[in-house]
């Protein structure tokens, strides 16, 4: 479920591009009014080419790819570097090769390699954030699209459930899960996923509610298509880019939320380590060993910015009405995102 985020050129987009071809040459047309038009052109490649045209977006994609690679292969490479303690070599400053490459980013308060810990933390962070975002995205979007398509009671009930989740203290949920179960990664993922479902639910519902009144949906309905088929074939492809953009932004939010939980003592617990936990535990050493909290903080910031840039690019690239901007030298915009979110609280 998380693959779309890692592979923006994935197959979902070929469908979106289909819907967009008609609008590509008429930038001011409202994209949602355009019914999906069949066009099996080689959009996959062109999306990639478009990416290369924007050097910021390319850089962002590279950063994210690097983070992904570190998360997958890093822990194997660093071995026990992240756990080997040496109390006599604690808090060694970074950027010195006296103790070898393993300690180039210094050592932490127990003399463990900061580099090794950052690498292991990358995996934890990603394996919390990605599934959390993925689960919330899938559940929230499908539910929202369904509610928005059918409207009426189903819509009202869904919206009120969203209200309930949003006004429910997620901290309590965290404590309950930690108490009743164990403070494992899976449970943190569960908490973060549940509390973020309403965001997708509301957005998807708003979009889908607007779509279901459109003529092309009406047409499909009169031809006797089943609701699930219409949703799957006509609604979801149009709503997806917005939701994916949202998911990228949520990825950042989830990383920050996880670090706040760590700060409050109810997030990831030692001996597990995540960027957020490292920032949280390093904060008391701010005046004596700044690298303990600055380096993982930097990892969060850089990853988040990269994800943001890519999201900004992606929402234009996948938006037929905006896509032409990318073919012009250095143009970016974000109207689709705005219209997408406008109905979110309705």
């Amino acid at each position: 479920m998380a693959t779309p985020l890692l592979q923006p050129e994935g197959h979902q987009h070929s469908e979106i591009d289909r819907s967009g071809t008609a609008a590509t040459h008429t930038p001011d047309a409202r994209p949602l009014e355009a019914p999906p038009v069949q066009d099996l052109g080689d959009k996959k490649l062109s999306l990639f080419r478009l990416l290369l045209r924007d050097k910021f977006a390319t850089l962002a994609a590279l950063v994210l790819m690097f983070v992904g690679l570190v998360a997958v292969f890093g822990p194997m490479l660093v071995g026990d570097l992240a756990t080997r303690q040496d109390l006599l070599a604690a808090n060694k400053p970074p950027f010195s090769l006296d103790d070898g490459w393993g300690y180039v980013l210094g050592s932490d308060s127990l003399g463990r390699s900061m580099l090794g810990r950052l690498v292991v933390a990358t995996r934890t962070t990603i394996s919390v954030a990605l599934p959390a975002v993925g689960i919330a995205l899938v559940i929230g979007s499908l539910w929202g699209v369904w509610a928005g398509y059918h409207r009426g009671l189903r819509e009202t009930i869904s919206m009120r459930i969203a209200d309930v989740i949003m006004s429910f203290p997620s901290l309590l949920l965290a404590v309950v899960v930690l108490y009743v179960f164990n403070p494992s990664l899976g449970n943190i993922v569960l908490i973060l996923a549940i509390t973020r479902i309403p965001i997708y639910l509301r957005t998807a519902r708003a979009e889908s509610a607007e779509l279901q009144s459109r003529t092309f949906v009406d047409a499909a309905r009169t031809f006797g298509s089943k609701p699930t088929a219409i949703i799957g074939r006509h609604v979801i492809p149009i709503v997806l880019p917005t939701l994916l953009t949202l998911a990228t932004l949520e990825f950042c939010y989830v990383m920050l939320a996880e670090s706040s939980l760590s700060f409050l003592g109810i997030g990831i617990q030692s001996p597990d380590v995540s960027w957020g936990l490292m920032v949280s535990q390093g904060r008391q050493y701010l005046q004596t060993a700044w690298w303990l909290s600055i380096l993982p903080g930097l990892a969060i910031v850089v990853t988040t910015i990269a994800a943001n840039i890519l999201a900004a690019w992606l929402r234009i690239a996948t938006d037929p009405a905006q896509r032409w901007r990318l073919s012009l030298p250095r143009k970016r915009g974000g109207r689709r995102f705005g219209t997408a979110l406008k109905g979110a609280t309705k």
């Binding site: 209200d163 309930v164 203290p169 404590v175 932004l249 900004a312 109207r335 979110l341």
Partner: protein, 308 residues
């Protein structure tokens, strides 16, 4: 509008009840508060006395019936920790959070609109690049870390601001600055995006070609268009703040509802937790309704053709 409001309020009541019931049940899953409130060497007898005194020895449904019976009489129970009425504690803490959240949101929105517009005037210009980068960075820094760095720089090293507390206007600066960054960062991007696309609409080009100044174009035409998405996002962000700026309240010693909530969760102070959740839930429902109304007003002005 009135019909809509009435329906909306009625349909919000059930979720309120669901939230409180959910909190009631979940809170009791987190274990028995007896050992937190009795001395470490308490005997079995003392434990039993405690449970009986607090009604915790009853079945869950009986406890719940008792609680809602009390709520109908405006009796929200008493805090295990302080012995005060729970409602009084929640009502005392809530305004502090509300004031902080409101001030933060107003400043964040104004700043984001200014910066967003400035950036949108020359898309991909230097100002645009800088503001996008800064706003993204702002939205991605862990708040507790920023708060501590802020205290270190502005209170300790420079000595310009108090470290924490609620002692005067200058004590608001650090908490607001910390809280503001994420809403500001997110909103700048929304406003900028909406402005860029609004400014390229034909009618704006027309206004410009008629010789309208940049300022006039922005304030009279484009901004109005950008207001709707910004309002929605701002609304969601505000909901987050009302639900308690736990981290900021904890660090700066701000006596708000977020701090009260986390304390009562960790201390298993069920009555206070329920009262605090009820208040924030009501506030969030009210806020959602206000956003809807605001959006309906904007919508009517901007796009009268779109469904009301």
């Amino acid at each position: 509008m009135l019909v809509y409001l009435r329906q909306r309020i009625i349909s919000s009541l059930l979720p309120l009840v669901v939230v409180v019931v959910g909190v009631f049940a979940l809170a009791r899953l987190t274990g028995n508060p007896a050992s937190l409130y009795l001395p470490l060497n308490a005997t079995e007898q003392m434990r039993a006395d405690f449970m009986a005194r607090e009604g915790l020895d009853q079945p869950l449904l009986v406890q719940m019936a008792d609680y809602f019976g009390g709520v109908l009489r405006l009796d929200f129970g008493e805090s295990l920790r302080t012995g005060e009425p729970a409602a009084a504690m929640a009502l005392r803490a809530f305004p502090a959070t509300l004031q902080l959240a409101a001030t933060t949101m107003v400043i964040a929105i104004v700043a984001a609109v200014l910066v967003g517009c400035w950036a949108a005037l020359k898309p991909n210009g230097v100002a645009d690049r800088i503001s996008s980068f800064v706003s993204m960075a702002a939205a991605s820094i862990p708040d507790f870390w920023l708060a501590i760095v802020g205290i270190w720089i502005f209170a300790i090293t420079l000595g310009w601001l108090p470290t924490s507390g609620v002692s005067g206007p200058e004590a608001w600066i650090l908490p607001i600055a910390t809280l503001m960054l994420r809403p500001f960062g997110v909103l700048v991007q929304i406003v900028r995006g909406a402005m860029v696309s609004a400014l390229s609409e034909p009618y704006i080009k027309l206004a410009r070609s008629k010789g309208a100044s940049d300022a006039r174009v922005v304030t009279h035409h484009a901004l109005r268009n950008a207001a709707a998405p910004a309002l929605t996002v701002a609304g969601d962000l505000a909901v987050g703040l009302v639900n308690g700026a736990v981290v900021v309240e904890t660090i700066f010693g701000w006596p708000g509802i977020g701090k009260l909530m986390i304390d009562s969760i960790l201390q298993r102070d069920f009555a206070v937790l329920q009262a605090a959740v009820l208040i924030t839930a009501i506030a969030i429902f009210i806020l959602n309704i206000l956003i809807d109304i605001g959006y309906a007003l904007l919508d009517a002005r901007v796009r009268p053709t779109v469904k009301a």
